[in-house]
């Protein structure tokens, strides 16, 4: 896998939405005052007659989206994940999920790499909350190319609620666009036999880097891109556990309740093996440059490498 460019995943979301909407007149965009920041501007400029600005009112936007969906529209609302998954959680739960409506909720500025804005704007709990809601699908694409595919799949392949998580910073864009994206089907990006790194979001690139470094030290690491956190791809995880016997998970989210927890829920029941979790450990974020924060909160490829060595020791003890 090679880096083509550095692009924020929000750009992939925004362009994918606009391209899908060119073909699908039932798509309606709902703005929450940060339309440009979440890159819904591409849609709003191309389809002003299908874009409704609703202001800084996330609870209402969620209910309006539900009302539109009840009438057969496909509403897409997007704001920062801290607001689109948390300010409005009860509306997502009752108006959207309990009614099982095809509403797309974009969660922008996911993770600590939001940077200088600090903890209030860094969504670190959204996966945990969204994945616990019945009927909800949770997507976390690994780069801009995949974010483009993910929003299209959410619009065309689903008829139920979708939470789609994406980030603020420019991150490596590396996924070949001829690799199909299928909701619920994780991707094996690199094979390996000693352990498996399961990553989501832009930490997938860090996982690939970590695997390369491990390889040079004689450790063969498998890398799985878990772009769909719910419904989770049990099969690929159980196979990885059975074949490699050790798992490291990596995500830009709280360890508690996040993607790693979801993986552990599957493996502890069906194929237990030693695990290590890379993520934010029960703390708020803070201001700083994105890369400084990724270092400080131990979310880099070198941290994945360290966790890999630790989990291999536990595997050997078994």
């Amino acid at each position: 896998m090679k880096i083509r460019d550095y692009i924020p995943t929000r750009v992939g979301f925004g362009k994918g939405l606009k391209e899908a909407a060119d073909q699908m007149p039932e798509i309606i965009g709902l703005g929450a005052d940060i339309t440009g920041s979440v890159n819904m501007n591409f849609f709003a400029e191309a389809h002003p007659d299908r874009f409704y600005s609703l202001g800084i009112a996330e609870q209402n936007i969620t209910g309006v989206a539900a009302g539109l969906a009840l009438e057969g529209k496909i509403p897409v609302m997007a704001t920062y994940g801290v607001f689109s998954a948390m300010r409005n959680t009860d509306q997502v739960r009752i108006s959207v999920c309990y009614n099982n409506l095809h509403v797309i909720i974009g969660g922008a500025h996911a993770g600590i790499s939001v940077g200088p804005d600090g903890a209030t704007h860094q969504a670190l709990e959204d996966i945990a909350i969204m994945r616990s809601l019945p009927n909800m699908t949770v997507l976390s694409p690994c780069d801009a190319t995949q974010a483009n595919q993910a929003i299209k799949a959410a619009l065309t392949d689903q008829d139920s609620p979708v939470y789609l998580r994406f980030g603020r910073e420019a991150v490596p864009d590396f996924m070949p666009d001829d690799i199909a994206f299928e909701i619920g089907k994780a991707q094996l990006l690199k094979d390996g036999v000693d352990l498996t790194i399961v990553a989501t979001g832009h930490l997938v690139w860090e996982a690939l880097e970590a695997a390369k470094e491990l390889e040079s030290g004689g450790v063969s690491a498998r890398v799985i891109n878990l772009h769909t956190i719910k419904p989770i791809d049990r099969e690929i995880l159980i196979k990885a556990s059975a074949e490699t016997g050790a798992i490291v998970t990596a995500e830009e989210h709280q360890i508690m309740g996040g993607m790693g927890s979801a993986v552990a829920e599957v493996l502890s029941e069906y194929a237990p093996c030693p695990m290590k979790f890379i993520g934010v450990n029960d703390t708020f974020g803070e201001s700083g440059q994105p890369d400084e924060l990724m270092e400080k909160y131990k979310l880099k490829s070198k941290n994945i490498v360290t966790a890999a060595h630790e989990v291999l020791i536990n595997k050997a003890k078994k």
Partner: protein, 267 residues
């Protein structure tokens, strides 16, 4: 009268649920479903139907009872209220496929946003049906109501009619003691809504109000329906302790007798 009696019977059979609010709204629901709403009980998903969004899920008994009496399902089914496997969930739920139900409800403050979304969709499609929603006065303490009121006013959604059940009481006591919602008329006006008031326990006055609402405007409209919680059963009228209680089996005959007496005195 029959609808009030059905509400009392189904809640007594359920052994839990909110009696007061349901009785207070009996005249509003009767006026809507037997006169005002353009709907087809035999075809609940008819595209041109007027939508009714029940935002206060706890008055499900009067909602279900009215639906049954106008033919969405059998009156016998009302005795399954709140029981395992019933389509008549304690708070209305679309996943149980209740005929005539537009949206799940039970968490207060969400229905006006849903109605706003439906009204936007209708405008977008050039459809002529109207979107009614029913709210409690205590519910207006939820902030999201005012987010929705702002949006509906902003988009001049004149295809929306919100009805507020102004019975003045909520679970903890009188609304103005729990958290004052007055001045209610001024609040809605300030959000660019056209405001009407009626006696919500007088069908003639409710229908008069509905006629006024039909006059052209470029605003969403709200009807503040002044009701008595528990209306029809003199013994419990306006007694807030009856907001969230069902009648006990030993109350049933007495309450039904009061409904009948009240009906004959007023007809």
């Amino acid at each position: 009268m029959e609808i009030r009696i059905s509400v009392i019977n189904s809640l007594a059979a359920a052994g839990s649920g909110h009696l007061g609010g349901s009785l207070g709204l009996a005249d509003v629901f009767t006026s809507l479903y037997f006169k005002e709403l353009n709907h087809k009980p035999e075809n609940p998903e008819w595209e041109n139907r007027d939508r009714l969004v029940l935002s206060i899920g706890h008055v499900a008994p009067i909602f279900y009872t009215t639906l049954a009496h106008c033919g969405y399902f059998s009156v016998e089914e009302l005795s399954t209220l709140r029981k395992l496997g019933s389509r008549l969930q304690g708070h209305p739920a679309t996943d149980h496929h209740t005929p005539g139900l537009e949206t799940s409800a039970g968490s207060l403050g969400q229905g006006l946003s849903i109605a706003t979304g439906m009204a936007l969709a209708a405008k977008h499609n050039g459809a002529n049906h109207r979107i009614f929603s029913i709210h409690g006065d205590g519910e207006l303490q939820e902030g999201a109501i005012w987010e929705a009121a702002m949006a509906a006013g902003n988009y001049q959604l004149d295809n929306m009619v919100a009805i507020v059940d102004r019975n003045g009481v909520q679970i903890d006591g009188p609304t103005e003691q729990v958290m004052g919602v007055e001045p209610l008329v001024d609040k809605w006006r300030a959000f660019n809504w056209k405001v009407h008031e009626c006696n919500g326990n007088d069908i003639i006055d409710i229908l008069r109000c509905f006629d006024v609402v039909k006059e052209a405007t470029n605003q969403p409209q709200v009807i503040i329906a002044h009701t008595k919680m528990g209306a029809g059963v003199v013994e419990i009228e306006n007694d807030y302790t009856w907001h969230g209680k069902p009648p006990r089996p030993e109350n049933v005959d007495n309450f039904i007798a009061q409904v009948k007496q009240n009906y004959h005195e007023n007809s």
